[in-house]
């Protein structure tokens, strides 16, 4: 019975344009990679260095595709069926929940295996060049990728079973995947070589990411360890991936029953109708209670901006206050710890941690706020209603962008106290801090305009969110993979050229974070960012203008 679901999921996925584009794109990209590195003369290169270079690019490329593209398919799988009403039909059939789950899981796995098959000719070509082993390198790489695939698919299906919309499922899944694959590398990067228990804990935490394992396999030793030895991560990663996948799968199977759909409509009780004690309690907990009765939208305020704030679940003012407080607290604690000497990291390391945390926050939050600005309106029919109001298109667009801009500004301001303490500790840093803040502001603006432009081009929010996350990840995370291979696979100039488009890397070079001292990325990065922002604004304006015209 489960075969029916496998068939439907697989055929459903294969029929989409993005699946076709992905399959063809992977085949073309890896063919070009091999062709570009294939020996052009008749001499044989016995050292195998060229083949190793091809294999490294090949391995990082495959890993990046898996991390960036694969979660998009399972993340929408359960929630879409729930919203379309087809999950009712499945749960009402004699199929047990494990069979439904297995069907969905296998449907996605078969598709991705098909995707990986597209890379086999390139892997064979790398082997044919000499210097790459099937048994010690190529097969283990596919083994690691298979583990990553199962783990992220199971995670995305679990998120999908909890989410209320495809959009929120994608946001949460990408946030968790980025956390597991990239953010977990941060603590080890900064703490390695230090005494105490924290570096050991960081060593374990980074094993949640497949990046160190793949780097070990392709001969890079360890992610950002700069020659220092590190214990093998393969066993830890395999145990973590398999264990977490089993936990995710079991939890999702348990959740896949009729109780998943047995939810009452929210009562919508407003705080004003509750008892005085409850009202006070809510005031203390929320600071700004989202459930109190509102006064009307005030004069001189863009109504679209207010609407955007009110319709967000995450992003309403009480959530923002919590997030801002947390960000302010973390940045202050970090700088306080450095000042009092309890940790001997140095201002540069503290600055680096703050930059990475801030970029991670921007990377996770911005597409979730901006990628639905126009696509959600078009998907829900709200765009037609907005067009029927006398609001001009510029007001609608301005209101929407302001709602994202103000949120991001709050987040940026939250870390300002931390940077001020840094300047107080080490006054010559003042100019560097300003430059870092400019880089981060560019990052925020670029993420906002890129997501908004993508949103104006897509009819569906889920697609807009996926594309926005993928593009931003390529810019901020994908380029860092090239940096990780700096000095061995990639030359200094190539790494510096690639990092020009990464505002996080630019900020890290300014703050002179470890590993970034040899690069000069400013002001060329600012020019890049400015140009890309202009391009995104132009696309967004042109598309919005087109959408507001009578058809």
């Amino acid at each position: 019975m489960g075969y029916a679901i496998v068939e439907r999921e697989l055929i459903g996925t294969l029929r989409t344009r993005r699946a076709l584009a992905l399959l063809v794109g992977v085949a073309i990209a890896f063919s070009l990679l091999v062709v570009s590195r294939w020996p052009s003369d008749a001499t044989v290169e016995l050292s195998g260095v060229q083949a190793q270079e091809v294999f490294r690019l090949f391995a990082y490329g495959l890993l990046a595709i898996l991390v960036l593209m694969v979660p998009a398919f399972p993340a929408t799988s359960v929630v879409r069926e729930k919203n379309q009403g087809t999950l009712d039909l499945l749960l009402n059939s004699p199929m047990p929940s494990w069979s439904i789950y297995l069907g969905k899981m296998l449907g996605i796995l078969v598709f991705v295996i098909l995707l990986l098959t597209m890379s086999l000719p390139a892997a064979s070509a790398a082997y044919a060049m000499g210097g790459v082993s099937w048994l010690r390198q190529i097969l283990p790489l596919y083994g690691i990728l298979a583990l990553v695939l199962v783990q992220y698919t199971a995670l995305a299906l679990l998120v999908s079973s909890y989410a209320a919309t495809t959009d929120s499922a994608l946001k949460i899944t990408y946030g968790l995947v980025l956390l597991a694959a990239v953010v977990t590398l941060g603590p080890h990067f900064f703490l390695q070589g230090q005494p105490g228990w924290m570096p050991k804990a960081a060593e374990w935490v980074r094993c949640a990411s497949p990046v160190p394992t793949v780097m070990e396999l392709v001969g890079h030793g360890d992610a950002g360890s700069f020659g220092r030895g590190a214990p093998t991560t393969l066993a830890r990663f395999a145990a973590f991936a398999a264990g977490s996948a089993i936990v995710f799968a079991v939890t999702t199977i348990v959740r896949l029953n009729s109780f998943l759909l047995d939810r009452p409509r929210p009562q919508g009780i407003v705080t004003d109708d509750r008892s005085t004690a409850q009202q006070w309690l809510r005031r203390l907990v929320f600071l700004v209670d989202p459930h109190r009765r509102k006064r009307g939208i005030g004069p001189f305020v863009n109504p679209v901006m207010v609407k955007e704030f009110r319709t967000r679940r995450f992003g309403r003012i009480h959530w923002l206050l919590r997030l801002v407080s947390l960000a302010a607290l973390v940045s202050l604690l970090l700088t306080y710890a450095a000042t009092t000497g309890t940790i001997d990291w140095g201002v540069e390391t503290i600055g680096g941690i703050m930059v990475i945390l801030q970029v991670a926050l921007l990377l996770v939050l911005t597409p979730s706020l901006a990628a639905n600005l126009i696509s959600t309106e078009r998907e829900s029919g709200g765009w037609e209603l907005l067009m029927m109001t006398p609001l001009p298109a510029r007001s609608i667009l301005l209101g929407k962008l302001l709602s994202v801009f103000l949120t991001l500004l709050l987040l940026m301001l939250a870390t300002l106290p931390g940077y001020l303490v840094m300047i107080w500790i080490h006054p010559p840093l003042r100019w560097q801090v300003w430059q870092v803040l400019i880089c981060l502001s560019w990052m925020a603006l670029f993420a906002m305009f890129l997501s908004a432009a993508v949103s104006s081009l897509c009819r569906r929010t889920a697609l807009a969110t996926t594309i926005s996350y993928a593009l931003l990840s390529v810019v901020c995370v994908g380029t860092m993979l090239i940096w990780l291979g700096g000095g061995t696979t990639f030359g200094h100039e190539l790494v510096e050229s690639v990092l020009q488009i990464n505002p996080m890397a630019a900020a890290l070079t300014i703050i002179e974070a470890p590993g970034f001292t040899n690069y000069r990325l400013v002001p060329s990065n600012w020019w890049w960012m400015g140009g890309m922002c202009l391009l995104c604004v132009f696309v967004m304006l042109a598309q919005t203008w087109r959408l507001t015209r009578p058809q």
Binding site: R265, I269, V270, K307, S380, E384, T389, P390
Partner: protein, 322 residues
């Protein structure tokens, strides 16, 4: 009908998408305070006509005006004159009904001091005051339709254009929706309503327009349309008992055309027949039945049915096309 007294004037409205003519020379006029039922099969051009009227689509040819304002050249002014409810609700998550109406009120530039009262008014008109604190996405379909109408009323437009307002409603909600629409007509609003539920439309519409393949096949009151599309009327003779049915059927046959369709229903003690003979001759038939000592309990014309009219018009159009 003069253009000054007409709330809606449409002349030779045509919309062509590539090879497809979605609307082909649509022309009609609608007076202030009347309810127009716009009906037609799927793809007939109803939504295209509506979108041109509300300024969301451009016409290839022709003109349309609402309250004297040209829909094609002044789409911004039209937005203030028209309240439009599309067939999709357009809800926003995490918004309460009051906040939802407050947003649209603000978007229409209604001052905050006036907006509060205006929201209360429209909620009362549509019977949705009790929903004010509910989340919009948690409302049932019928509740959403009421809120949709409340939203269209916020800026007090003179013309309301409602696309399928009764679609998906249960019988109780349909009755309530009908009452709301009649109340709006009493308030002097001009309504253009599309629907697939023809019996519902026939109960509220003053005027009906039947569209088929982009062309206006019939326009007028229901009775006018029935007379135009079908020259025959259906009449019923009900007796005290079923004993004299054959005799009555024989007498009817002498009065009506030879090819007329006559049916007997013994269980109801009714003889039904369709004829194109005038009312005066039907009076003579009744007199003959009474003088023949037949116990006639009812002699009546069955009212025109919108479903019959619709099917008849679309069938005629298909026959003439073929």
């Amino acid at each position: 009908m003069g253009e000054q007294t007409s709330a809606v004037v449409v002349k030779d409205l045509t919309k062509v998408y590539g090879q497809l003519t979605a609307l082909d020379g649509l022309s009609f006029e609608l007076e202030q305070g009347r309810i127009l039922g716009l009906i037609g099969p799927n793809g007939a051009g109803k939504t295209t006509a509506i979108k041109i009227l509300v300024g969301l689509a451009r016409a290839t040819r022709g003109r349309a005006s609402i309250a004297g304002c040209d829909c094609l050249h002044h789409p911004k002014k039209i937005k203030r004159l028209v309240g439009y409810m599309p067939d999709t609700f357009g809800s926003y998550d995490n918004m309460r009904v009051w906040e939802y109406l407050d947003f649209f009120g603000a978007a229409f530039g209604i001052r905050r001091s006036q907006r509060r009262g205006r929201i209360e008014d429209v909620m009362e008109t549509t019977g949705s005051t009790y929903m004010r604190d509910r989340y919009v996405e948690s409302l049932s379909h019928g509740m959403k339709q009421r809120i949709g109408i409340a939203r269209t009323l916020l800026h007090d437009p003179s013309v309301l254009i409602l696309d399928e307002p009764a679609n998906g409603l249960d019988p109780q909600a349909r009755i309530e929706m009908r009452q709301i629409l009649l109340r709006l007509a009493e308030l002097g609003k001009t309504l253009i309503v599309t629907s697939h539920i023809l019996p519902e439309l026939s109960r509220i519409c003053d005027v009906v327009a039947i569209l088929n393949r982009g062309k206006l096949e019939a326009f007028g009151t229901l009775n006018d349309i029935m007379r135009k599309v079908s020259q025959k009327r259906t009449l019923e003779v009900q007796l005290g008992s079923g004993d004299g049915l054959e005799r009555v059927a024989g007498m009817v046959r002498e009065f009506v055309e030879p090819e007329a369709e006559i049916t007997e229903s013994p269980s109801e003690a009714i003889v039904r027949f369709r004829t194109s003979k005038p009312e005066s001759e039907m009076g003579s038939l009744l007199a003959s039945l009474i003088s023949a000592n037949i116990a006639v309990t009812q002699f009546r014309e069955i009212p025109a049915d919108l479903e019959d009219a619709f099917l008849s018009v679309t069938r005629h159009a298909e026959e003439s096309d073929s």
